[in-house]
Amino acid sequence: MLAFILLFPLVGALLLMIFRHMPRALAGVIGVGSVTLAAVMVAVVDVCWLFHSQGAGWSQTLWTWMADTMPLIGGKGASFFIPFVLRLDGLSLTMVSVITGVGALIHLFAAWYMLEDRKANPGYLFTRFFACMNLFVFAMLLLVLGGNMLVMFFGWEGVGVCSYLLIGYYHRDAMKTWAAFKAFIMTRLGDIFLAVAMFMIFCALGTLDMGEIPLRAAEVWHKHDVMVEVIALLILGGAVGKSAQLPLQTWLADAMAGPTPVSALIHAATMVTAGVYLIARLHGLYLLAPFALNMVGVVGAVTLVMAGFIALAQRDIKRILAYSTMSQLGYMFVALGCGAWRAALFHLMTHAFFKALLFLASGSVIVACHHEQDITQMGGLAKRLRLPWASFMIGGASLAALPVVTAGFYSKDAILWQSFASGHYGLWAAGLVGAFLTGLYTARLIILVFYGRPAHSSHPVEVPSGWMHHFPLVCLCILATGIGALIHPPVEKVLPAVILQSWPEAVELLHMVVASCVGLAGIGVALLLFSGERRLIKAVVRTRPGRAVWTFLSHACGFDALYDRLFVRSFLFITLPHCPQWFKDWLAKWRGGALAWPHRGHRADWIDLAMDFLPAVTRLGSRTLSRTQNGLLRHYAVFFLAGAACILLILTLG
């Protein structure tokens, strides 16, 4: 049963890869159909779950992946046994439903988008896009269904590869493929932390099974044990890589180089939430490691505030949404850091709805504006693009947590209240600042895109049409409202409840009002600053400090530049052949001479270059000695006499 959910996208991907030149309509049917079938299957499972409610869930072992019967030398008699096991419980069911449900809608939209996109970017294979998308869905499902860490890691790396391929979908544009490269390498760095965590877990506990890890961990380690803290921090390292949190966040904004449905599916709704899923899944370890758990919250808080500020100073519509994603993921990390696992999962779900909606709507805006992504070049689109406008209003309201009517309000309020009530006031304050910023940048985005004067009228706006465009947007619009918040993830039996201090009901209500006021204040300030002629903001930016702040924020707080100096350039320095001037001079002096160095085909291989010293010396010796063999009788006579004299001298002295 479980395997079939996985099988549909996999078969779809394989079909699309093998028959690359199939008609476009067929490719669309296979690509969308496979994920839709998986979604239907998941819906059936959901219904079964509702009526039977299999508490702890069930698992299915497909085959034994790796097994080694001999016990490890130092491994306390544990043997390495990794079955390829899938496991379904409330947590993975939530994730699977989001992935296939939202995924199917995005696939449908993508079928429309990619057909439109062909007009602007001809010559890219249609099947390749859907093959990678289906493969991504397969890998993502494997990630959340994996019953042990290595199977999970399979999916974890698989989504990284698919993300790489899809960001670099426009492979003739070198900038876009470099963005893909960056995304892969940065997440890979996180993956290595995760891998080391797996080695340590296996070494200490002798198991990698998701269910057994927390049980054994509680036996082996006591709370605050250094070992478990280190492991939890390493897992956090993996999670920040995938979920684009500080300090591995810089890839996400560049990842927007991919087609817009890719950003909606991978970089908003599913893959980037893998880190949140991982920490929630292994919450048993984090409960033993309070310091690491605290760090989860701190990382989330810093990221959410920082990303909120950066989003204010971006002009590219997709980059604004990317930073907003980063910021919302920060909320989820804050929730995890407070131990509010359920709230994190809840926000993950609602965020998938409204952020997918926003990305898809931005996709249709981008297509309508002939692939213009700069929001200062848009404006006044509200009247002409009704459905994208409505989607943006609903999605944006949900993102800014407009009270009562939106899904985002309920999940964000849960996080804020639980962080406050569990006594994490610092995280709570960061959350409030973030809420203000969210309102601010969301309102700015909508005002600049949809209101005001059209920036240029040379290109008439093309109004999107077709049910493949409308249906996903309408569905997601509904889910992004309060109706979406009625869906409660069935995670009660998997994730423990957060421990709250007892506050009176009135305080909770008051908090709700305050929090929503902060969000509304953000929107209000945005209305003041960005509507109309924007005189104030223009004046501020014109001043020297204003300009400095703008530059700093629009360059994402300088992280890219910092990493470029620290890592990229130093790596290039050691890999590319730089040699000091004196060495070049020295080489030039000897070039052509006896000690001629072989031409440097070695490219930075200094050891091999040093090894070439031996043949060079040999050659020198050979030349020197062969010079004596010159056929001149005079020289031979001189050498003979000199040699004889030496021998006589030695004999007489000795």
């Binding site: 097994a67 001999m70 130092g74 790396e157 492979h171 890979r188």
Partner: protein, 503 residues
């Protein structure tokens, strides 16, 4: 007798190829194809006839089949061959990679076709000999015989590059391996002499030299003699200089053989001779060897990144991969050793595949300089897809055999040497960098021209498809490989760890 056939078939087949040259260029190719297929079939036959599953671990290796003929009785040299799971696996791999070497040079080689295939067959025969010999002198002979045809392959059918001729590269290869082979000969003679002083019996037999008592210092020196020879071949970093040059200048078939099987003989030698004959010295040396392994991982990855010649890049990546192998071998736990075997098999497939792709790219673009080719994606049909999968295998993405191998090595070594493993795991980042840089430089970016290039022929596509499928098979179901090597690896691990506990 089957074991003898493994040697006779390639040597006779090679001579036939040479003789058949006058009948036209196609005949030697078919003879060579049949010969290598026969080698592969014989190894399958060996697999069917023998028992390779895990049994009790004794003091001696448990051979599935052995044959001994007298050779030089006065010096105690015998012509003895034996096979266990590990050697069977390696011999099977030799036959398999041999088939690919013949197939990939089908159109590349047009000069002296018969002599080319003679060399190719003799390499395969000699490598089979290395994997089967259990007499140290016989082993050494095959070890040296292996070099000569390889030398000719590079020197006669290789490519010249602006800064290095093929003869220079071949000479460099020959001198490196020959000089280190001499050290091994000295070590073998030393071991025989020590054994002679104790028992007054001259013998080169592996089983009889087993467990010779000697002082720790002497055993360390003898062990290092073996180690250096194998380290040159593996290659381990300070001794790796020949590899990029040899690969860069060799014809495709030569590179496929070199990466697919020749460098595997070194890992095999470590597992068969260096560790079991000198367990105590090896255990003492293990931390240093593992550090060499980590250095190889990083150094190989870094110089791989800086190459502009695509074949040299792939060659340097083997240095990095073999570094993982060295770490696993000297960690000595059963899991790590099994990982080494899986990695060797997977690397043979992935490296052979990548070299075949390099050859195919060269046939189409007539250059191997990555700066002169960009935007091949979409111009070469399914080749870009295959190379993508092969490169993902090379950076160890799950699902491919390389992932299983590398992670089993790392899991198996972690309890022995946590810091080494953490450093080695960092190498995975660099392997991703050099693998993706190939995609970045040659497949992505603006196309040099829009003229479509020749698509893959069924022969070329079939080769890559088979390799890719095998990589996935090893990656998803590695049991077939692991069961075969379980017994010999259990033995090595047992002797190695046994001595480690004693001091």
């Amino acid at each position: 007798m089957l074991l003898l056939w493994l040697l006779i078939i390639p040597f006779i087949g090679g001579l036939l190829c040479w003789c058949a040259e006058r009948l036209g260029p196609a005949i030697p190719r078919f003879i060579a194809l049949i010969t290598t297929s026969l080698v592969f079939c014989v190894s399958i036959l060996l697999f069917v006839r023998g028992h390779y599953h895990l049994q009790t671990i004794g003091d001696y290796p448990r051979w599935a089949m052995a044959v001994t003929l007298p050779w030089v009785p006065r010096l105690g040299i015998t012509f003895s061959l034996a096979v266990d799971g590990l050697s069977l696996l390696m011999v099977g791999l030799t036959g398999f990679v041999g088939v690919f070497a013949v197939l990939c040079s089908w159109r590349e080689v047009t000069q002296r076709v018969g002599f080319f295939h003679l060399n190719l067959m003799w390499i395969i025969g000699a490598v089979c000999g290395v994997f089967l010999a259990v007499d140290l002198f016989l082993f050494f002979s095959f070890w040296e015989v292996m070099l000569v045809p390889m030398f000719f392959l590079i020197a006669l059918w290789g490519h010249d590059s602006p800064y290095k001729t093929r003869v220079q590269a071949a000479t460099k290869f020959f001198i490196y391996t020959q000089a280190s082979g001499l050290l091994m000969l000295l070590a073998i003679l030393g071991l025989v002499y020590v054994h002679y002083t104790q028992t007054h019996e001259i013998t080169f037999n592996y089983m009889q030299l087993w467990g010779t008592e000697m002082s720790p210092a002497l055993s360390m020196i003898l062990m290092l003699g073996f180690f250096v020879a194998f380290a040159v071949k593996l290659p381990v970093v300070p001794l790796h200089g020949w590899l990029p040059d040899a690969h860069g200048q060799a014809p495709t078939a030569g590179s496929v053989d070199l990466a697919g099987i020749l460098i595997k003989t070194a890992a095999y030698g470590l597992l068969r001779f260096a560790l079991p004959l000198f367990p105590a010295a090896s255990a003492q040396f293990a931390p240093i060897a593992m550090i060499f392994g980590v250095v190889s991982i990083y150094y190989g990855a870094i110089i791989a990144f800086s190459q502009t010649d695509i074949k040299r890049l792939v060659a340097c990546s083997s240095i990095s991969h073999m570094g993982f192998g060295l770490v696993g071998i000297y960690a000595g736990s059963h899991l790590a050793l099994q990982g080494v075997v899986v990695m060797m098999v997977a690397h043979a497939f992935s490296a052979a595949g990548l070299f075949i792709v390099c050859g195919q790219i060269y046939e189409r673009t007539h250059t191997r300089d990555m700066r002169q080719m960009s935007g091949l994606f979409g111009r070469v049909g399914s080749m870009s897809g295959y190379s993508l999968i092969l490169l993902m295998a090379s950076c160890g993405v799950p699902g491919t055999g390389n992932f299983v191998g590398e992670f089993m090595i790392l899991f198996g070594s972690f309890s022995e040497a946590p810091w080494i493993v953490i450093c080695a795991a960092g190498g995975l980042l660099f392997s991703a960098i050099y693998s993706l840089i190939i995609l970045q430089r040659i497949y992505f970016g603006k196309p040099v021209s829009n003229a479509p290039l020749r698509r893959l022929s069924p022969r070329e596509g079939g080769m890559l498809l088979l390799l890719v499928m095998l990589l996935f098979l090893v990656g998803l179901y590695p049991h077939t490989v692991m069961e075969l090597s379980s017994q010999p690896m259990a033995e090595v691990s047992h002797w190695f760890s046994h001595t480690r506990v004693m001091p």
